[in-house]
Point group: C2
Chain length 157, copies 2
């Protein structure tokens, strides 16, 4: 897998999360995910078109969503992710992908992104046929983590 | 809401479903959906960029998925939607959106679409901030229905 297709997601995620929420993260071990895959209970999906086609599924536990949304809103830790909190998480992911697109453009890979869809539920399982799904885990200092799952329709090997 | 942004989805869905599965559908009452909205247990999400930005969330009951996938695969009615069945449903939605994009291009609205993401789960709820979600119900002859939920980031009123 070509690093130039993965690194923009890593750089943008870590920098934007720290800038917007103050939390530092480090990347975990990146791997190719088998599909279908099970997911945490809160997802943000953003589609990608242009230089390549695919999607990003960011997967969060409810606790991490509350932590990140509270930090973004500058309020005490919320216990339940309401619509305002979901909107904050969606906006965080939108900023991450916007910055990712900017980094790609510096490498002459021009991509466009869709608005974020925020989805909550139980027993969630995802299938993305005919794509390769690369999982980028981002680890917080308290050992919790989020996952950035990038699916590529084009061959990036 | 401008009809030229809605009609391509209606035309492509009805024609493609009939062509690929043999099932006739008629459109139900189209309406603007409040968010967050609850959804059936099987979803296919496809993003849209270009002439406008948004996404399509097609929402199916498990029973309708099995009916459509069986018809596509030319096999007796399946009872459980396995990965092959999910892939068939994803491909049906991909064909619908591909045809939708073709119809838009005839009106000089050029859009690009992402690969389909197929998602199953329980108690699914979706939020799509800063977009208008238009719900197009498609009714089958046995009174079952699927929903095509199109979110538009741009103002189409």
């Amino acid at each position: 897998m070509k690093a130039e297709y993965i690194n923009p997601f890593i750089t943008a995620s870590a920098e934007m999360i720290e800038q917007v929420t103050g939390f530092k993260t480090i990347k975990g071990k990146i791997y190719i995910k088998d599909v279908p895959y099970r997911s945490e209970s809160t997802l943000v999906l953003i589609g990608i078109t242009g230089g390549f086609h695919g999607s990003v599924v960011m997967s969060f536990s409810k606790a991490i969503c509350c932590k990140l949304a509270s930090a973004m809103m500058g309020c005490p830790l919320i216990k339940v992710l309401d619509e305002i909190g979901k909107s904050a998480i969606g906006e965080l992911c939108n900023m991450i992908l916007g910055y990712t697109a900017t980094i790609f453009s510096r490498e002459n890979i021009v991509v466009d992104i869709t608005p974020p869809t925020i989805l909550t539920g139980d027993n969630i399982e995802l299938s993305i046929p005919n794509t390769v799904v690369v999982c980028i885990p981002l680890l917080f200092e308290d050992d919790t983590q989020i996952e950035i799952n990038v699916s590529f329709a084009e061959d990036i090997s």
